[in-house]
Symmetry: D2
Subunit: 485 residues, 4 copies
């Protein structure tokens, strides 16, 4: 089959019978008509339409050698640097369509599935590991153009260092049984973004200090698997009006708590289980981080460009471009954006074939970028608030502008060389990006996208090759350099 269009996607998702709970009620009607989901699904559909647009088909799809059909480029296993660049350009297209606001745009997990499949042979012959299932999920996803979410955070009951969960009923989802049909999973995972709005959900554990055998698994199952529940948070859609809520009306993705109520995962869906070593090493040795980061950094760059545009548009709208402190603030955007771009480019330039024959973007520059963005994104938002100043609070609605009081608004809220309507549109966008519930959730999302920033810097410290630099200093000082680092 290969790449599908937006309508096909929506029809398929509307037919899924996932158990989604919203504000205390189980959703029964069409997802695409629900006020909390219709905006994001429409936007998602637009991404699928894009890939069938003849003028873009070449940039968004490739002809699968297996099926001979046009297939989403995020599924392409890259063999050359050109493939890497091709993949990135595809992701830029989608990110521009969503202004970088859709964290779980389908290319994200598609890339993960592709990375898993590319590295599956690592699991060959290992106990309780089924690399062939990864390959078949990949092939099925590619041929049906499926969408996925994934979930990996354990519930935040207790973050103490020496905490060890002792409750009898599992809290973090774990394997509580297995039988002829498959594994039985009970417990919960936090924060499946777009939970219930995708065809499948990919579940795996991230390595941590106290990983237990019954938590060392990975699998992918359809969203409507019996016993699987998605419990939504409050919706951050501000309303239908794209004038009033230009971002949340289109890009609010929803996050949900995922509950596994004795969920049966069929054997042919299990990637591995009960093997701590394989579980930890597969994530380290596979190209997972490379491709997940390659997509994310690409998206974050597009988002940064959008934010720079907004910041500068604010500057021009209220005519503050002559101030030195404004130059400093916009320079922060420029420096952040260009730094991210240089790191992404370096990662691509230095990409290498891995042991599984896949061309990987070079990981370290992406890792650096992923340590930078959680710091600059909140600062970008803060700068936009500071440039906007009191204008960020004066936010009449579309209805008000079109009402009999509209003429007053038009006169008194005009911008420098901008009508009031344009001015309000611009400020509402800045507000929706940085001050609405949608906007602040984006801040939190980017801040923790790859985990706790403090742990990320420990990882960077521990993995970065520092020994040669220390050795050079020892040589300069003419002192012993053995055993450093």
């Amino acid at each position: 089959m290969g790449a599908v269009n937006g309508k096909a996607l929506i029809d398929r998702l509307d037919q899924l019978k996932s158990e989604i709970w919203f504000d205390g009620e189980m959703i029964t009607g069409k997802l695409s008509e629900h006020p909390a989901f219709k905006g994001i699904l429409k936007t998602k559909a637009s991404l699928y339409d894009l890939q069938l647009d003849p003028s873009l088909a070449n940039e968004l799809t490739f002809i699968s050698p297996d099926t001979n059909k046009p297939t989403g480029l995020s599924y392409l296993k890259p063999k050359t640097k050109e493939d890497i660049v091709k993949r990135r350009k595809m992701m830029e297209h989608w990110a521009r369509q969503t202004k970088g606001m859709m964290g779980r745009s389908p290319d994200y997990i598609n890339s993960v599935i592709m990375a898993f499949a590319s590295s599956a042979s690592f699991l060959k012959g290992k106990e309780k590991c089924f690399p062939e299932n990864i390959q078949s999920v990949y092939e099925s996803a590619m041929s049906k153009d499926l969408t996925f979410t994934h979930t990996f955070v354990t519930p935040q009951v207790n973050r103490s260092l020496f905490n060890y969960n002792t409750s009898k009923e599992p809290i973090a989802a774990k394997v509580i049984d297995h039988n002829e049909q498959g594994l039985v999973i009970k417990g919960a995972r936090l924060l499946a973004t777009q939970g219930g709005l995708t065809d499948e959900v990919l579940v795996f554990s991230t390595p941590n200090f106290f990983l237990e055998e019954d938590e060392a698994y990975a699998f992918s199952i359809p969203s409507d698997t019996p016993g699987l529940k998605f419990i939504c948070r409050e919706s951050f859609v501000g309303g239908d009006s794209t004038f009033n809520h230009p971002l949340s009306s289109r890009f609010e993705e929803m996050d949900s708590l995922v509950v596994f109520d004795d969920v049966l995962v069929p054997w042919n869906r299990v990637f591995y289980y009960g093997n701590i070593e394989a579980s930890v090493n597969f994530l380290l040795k596979s190209s997972f981080h490379c491709f997940a980061l390659h997509q994310t950094i690409t998206r974050q760059i597009v988002k940064s460009e959008f934010m720079l545009g907004i910041a500068q548009l604010l500057v021009e709208t209220i005519d503050v471009g002559e101030y030195q402190h404004i130059h400093e603030k916009i320079s922060e955007f420029i420096i952040g954006l260009e730094t991210m771009k240089a790191l992404l480019e370096k990662s691509e330039q230095n990409s290498e074939l891995d042991e599984f024959g896949t061309m990987r973007p070079h990981l370290p520059p992406l890792q650096i970028a992923s340590n930078i963005f959680p710091n600059i994104y909140p600062r970008f938002c803060e700068i936009i608030q500071i440039i906007g100043a009191s204008g960020m609070v004066t936010l009449p609605t579309e209805k008000a502008i079109n009402s009999s009081i509209g003429s007053n608004i038009n006169h008194y809220l005009q911008g420098s060389d901008r009508t009031a309507e344009e001015r309000i549109k611009i400020f509402r966008l800045a507000w929706d990006l940085t001050m609405s519930s949608f906007g602040t959730r984006q801040i939190q999302y980017e801040r923790y996208f790859f985990g706790d920033p403090i742990r990320m810097s420990s990882t960077l410290y521990n993995t970065y090759p520092k020994a040669q630099y220390v050795k050079n200093v020892c040589e300069f000082l003419d002192i012993n350099s053995e055993g450093t680092c």
Copy 2:
């Protein structure tokens, strides 16, 4: 009459026929029943009830020597340091009732009116100045226990340094005529918080570089004066549930654009007009800044205490109190709070009788505090977000907890030694404070409470007595110290 209770206040406000525009419609029903206003008015009423509570009457009211009635303490003209402390304790009571979230709690402008009245004799004999009108507004306000808002920001059309508005139709409100009845005002002002929700609105110009004669005025008029319009922004009330929206359901004050459509200000309401020098100097020489800042810093301290409580409660709820970086973050709250308190206390200790016989809190420490808070408040919010981490996004609603999916929520979202319900209440509060539209508007509000932070530091630089310090250095170096600073 003197101090009134909450019901009296609400009845009075419901009977005012102010022209308030909300989402394109003019409000016609009772304000106290409107979804956007009922929460804040109920909270405001609770403040008035408090002052009639016998156990607090002594701390919240004084017996006016004129009327011999219990009168709100914010109207007390202080003559001693004890009066200053009494005033502050009254304001603490109200701030605790509102957790420091109500920027325009009535004591704020009451204090300004009191300060104006205390300093009115400054205007005696000056051209186009009517100190007697200030006194009569003060007396009327005190005896009827009125509430006020004020408005002083000019619309943000163009912030260029050398911009000079040349549009024919006025944008910033100005005197366009005067006749036997009074002044005629046309134009707009930005950001009357609680605009239309108070008995009166106090209007005056703040000194700036290009102040024109027709903008050099001050007056107070009832909110339902003909031609006066309040155009609201979107409401940030998240909903009625105090579980879901513990702050916005109670404390969302609304901001509005104030339009003067040929408003006639009767002569007995005019404080001064058409006198640039008096306009500028009255604000500088009167005790306005002292008392406005004394109330604000008091409120901000109470707010900081509330925030420290929330931050520490989060720490305990997810049991992260052992981490050094948590100690650093909570220490930032402690240091900020104690700094604000020390400055307030110094201001009170060093209070002095002014030339008008009023005991004033010493201004410089309050000014320093007002330069500090706009920096620490956004940082406090950021720290709360960082401590809360992923928990800030998992926000089920009251309805969800009470529904059939509630048991799942109760199990999987429990805290360390907290039920899920308690845990969610705590996190929803943290969210409403720092990430809801209500919360981010509070950030912007505190950031700009006393104006652009950059201009505030220029003011501090220009007014702070540096000469003696420079001279001491010159003496140490044995160089000429004349003409420094």
Copy 3:
């Protein structure tokens, strides 16, 4: 005897036969003539002369009830708030004389000795504790106007959390024996500032996680006690010229490693030993921290005033006072200085009689100030560097100005309304304060004055009373508040 003059002090120190090692040689001549020490000793002498200046005697000394002689005010046991203020004013005088640059000005340890003596009764009846010795050291110090240094840091061999020193030869100084004469001490302590330049050295252990019994001691001994060695670091005196090195020529104090080579501490000099509990609790319960901090914060405030003067003098010298970013930078000084002052004042206002009958400055505000200064001091230095810019590098010497090339210097390095000579004096001062070896050592000194800033914030977190704030939040949320904090 009581307060002595500078000459008496110098004569006494010149006669001490302390074992001081400088650049590999043991010093044999007069300390007051040694290039590394003559500047600081001359400055120290000027402090003693000051207290005998008739016009200041009243502010710097008090009549001791025991000896009926004028005695240095730093020895006064305060009984009233007025005594606290009197003590502070005395310390301001000395700090102004030294521009806050002398960290071990005699009033510092004098205050510690006084605090120890005031609280000595805490040790009464405790095992291996000799409160009477504290009292006699205090009385002797007061009557002879002695000067002290102290030392408490253990050598920085290994800072790992779980490090436990296992070397056979002690590194940190400990009790290795005791006999009829007294204790025998072997090992080292780090960083006695002015080590060897004072009459006595006070030695005690600060509480830490792994305090051993043989490290739990306190005593004071003369600097020339046999076996006691002071090993100096490199001198940071830039030269004799006060033109070239206005600060280091006067205020460089020297730091030294203190080695105890089987030093015998006579019993009448021992305050306590071998009692971990007493050792820990005496420092916590005595007024030690209150008075040590009261002196330090007073000194740091005077230093901040001096720095603000320098910064502003630079601004005027190159005429950059019109720039907004300069206003922001100078405002940082003002805010920092006024914050420190308000905290000191609050500490004095809230001082209280302790269980031993001593009036103590309130500790928490001083503790907050001691958490603030290590952050603002390096920033003050950085701002001075940034204002000075390229001028900080163009530093001709006194000799150059007075040479035949002087006319060129005079012409080309003139300032705005300043001669080149004045301009160079000003910049050399700014340089000596922030960029000379003397200046950077001051940065490190202030940064670590009360220990590792990270541990200080843990202490603040752990000792600050947060429970009431948490409880208030719980009440607002109507949730259980028992067991918080």
Copy 4:
């Protein structure tokens, strides 16, 4: 002739009769034996020896097509990307030899001379412009392997925005006359690093707001041209011992005030004069900034590597590698270093042939890097100070270690797995880098290397292409995008 060795260089410099004033005296003996200069000249000589080392000749020199001799690679006019990389590798070699501490290593101005020569045709036919002189200076420099400094800052008399120098005697160097022989220059320039220690000095004006005709010139003259004086600042050489002062004994370059006392610049040395437009545009259109920045960023990266090595060596020496805050601090080095590297690499990857046929590194990434380094360099120094803590103050000298007190030092100052001698070497290096007069001058030097950081961000703001980003936002909002930016 082509590339020469160190001895040839030193002999040549010793024979120059430049007028250098040091501490009020004119230097008459050999420069290479003067205590203030011998270290840096020895280091400089080592760079020249390196290029004649057979094992490196290929990487450090090229065969000049004109002379057919091995010639310093910094003189190579690059025609391909490979040439750019070759140039960078050469500069890395030299930077590693000097640890990035020599700001005026000869490749810096050599690259500028090459850039000028490559772009000289821009000046062809323009009034008062002599492109042929640039070419002949370049050829002579290349064939004789000359070294240069340059100077461009005007004395800092008054930095007020609207200051206009009105003194009769020129302060900033300007053309006061011209005659048959050439131009006559009078006045001064600030901060020629290595002034008098190079064969020639390149003088040109940087564009600024008030550039006058008589300041619009460029030329290069021998350092011993009559009337040219170099007035040195105080020397920051700490001493000869590389143990005590590992950096300043080798790398202290000296800065000097350059005075032109009616200096005659022969016509064949004049590049242009009296042509403001040419003066401004030549610097903008030539490859000057590209090649100057390419060298500088390369040097700064090598310096950053050295600093990371030192920081990590400190961490290991006192065994603090387990602390999270240490991970964060070392991560700052890693992130800074990798960011600089990615930007440099991007600049090379995107290098392009300019209109003069020269392959140029792409400017924008280098410009970003030059905005980043002035911020991270002082922070790197601060982190090193913070990691080193009290160890940065305990600095015994080489002589002390080798004296009879040495055994005490050896015992008490040992590190974790390091002897005291090694430990002290390491800390003295960290101190010399960040806290000695040499080290703080390096901080100031890097902070202002390309000028005032505030002006640099204004330049970035004004030159960065923002319009497309603004346009994209306008399209998203469906508003007019004409005339933006």
